[in-house]
Amino acid sequence: MTIEINYFGMLADVTGCSLENLSVSAVSISDLKGILVKKYPGLQNKDFRIAQNQELVSEGTILTGQEIALLPPFAGG
């Protein structure tokens, strides 16, 4: 399936883009994370969480969403 991946803050610095479409057969968020870290080794030592359809998800969650986002630590306020 094709999913849209959004990168924010320092993570967009690492990937060199803020948005990309990716065709994946991954079944969990953890699998997806593995694919992305392989594609962008700079993500390996970064602290980030993943949102699926605008909700934070854990690594064991099944990948169902079209909209994925990699979120570095929040700094609002």
Partner: protein
């Protein structure tokens, strides 16, 4: 579902804040307001001072989170109204980047509600800050 947009481009001005207060004069069931203003601090890191923070956000999710925080706050506290504004883009040191305004018939509710809202924003809303230094270098801010 489309959520209310909380973001304002650039700094939140004192005129904007003053207007917001003035607009509540017609709501005479209110007896207490409480306001939080987040100001960009000139932190010094390795001998270099921060000159501005450039804010960005995952806007769709952020506006949804602001909405959720708002709903939860109204459920927990006896508030008459509540307003939240957050900056996007560059905000210089000394300028305001977050404005939270809560109102109630009585004071206890606004003291407690304001702290709850501000802490929830810091923890749950995907906003990111790039600290810009005077020499044009930068680093990414993390809430402590």
């Amino acid at each position: 579902m489309k959520y209310k947009n909380v973001f304002i481009k650039g700094a939140i001005t004192s005129e904007f804040i003053a207007d917001s207060i003035a607009k509540h004069q017609s709501k005479t069931n209110i007896g207490a307001h409480n306001i939080f203003l987040g100001q960009v601090r000139a932190d010094e890191i390795d001998g270099k001072a921060v000159s501005a923070i450039e804010y960005s956000a995952y806007e769709g999710m952020a506006n949804k989170k602001f909405h959720d925080i708002r709903e939860a706050t109204f459920e927990k506290f006896n508030l008459t109204c509540m307003h939240i504004y957050h900056s996007l883009g560059a905000v210089k040191t000394g300028e305001i980047c977050l404005f939270v305004f809560v109102s109630s018939p009585r004071r206890m509710a606004v003291f407690e509600a304001l702290e709850y809202v501000v802490e929830a924003i810091k923890a749950d809303v995907p906003v990111f800050g790039k600290e810009l230094f005077e020499d044009e270098s930068h680093q990414w801010k993390v809430n402590s």
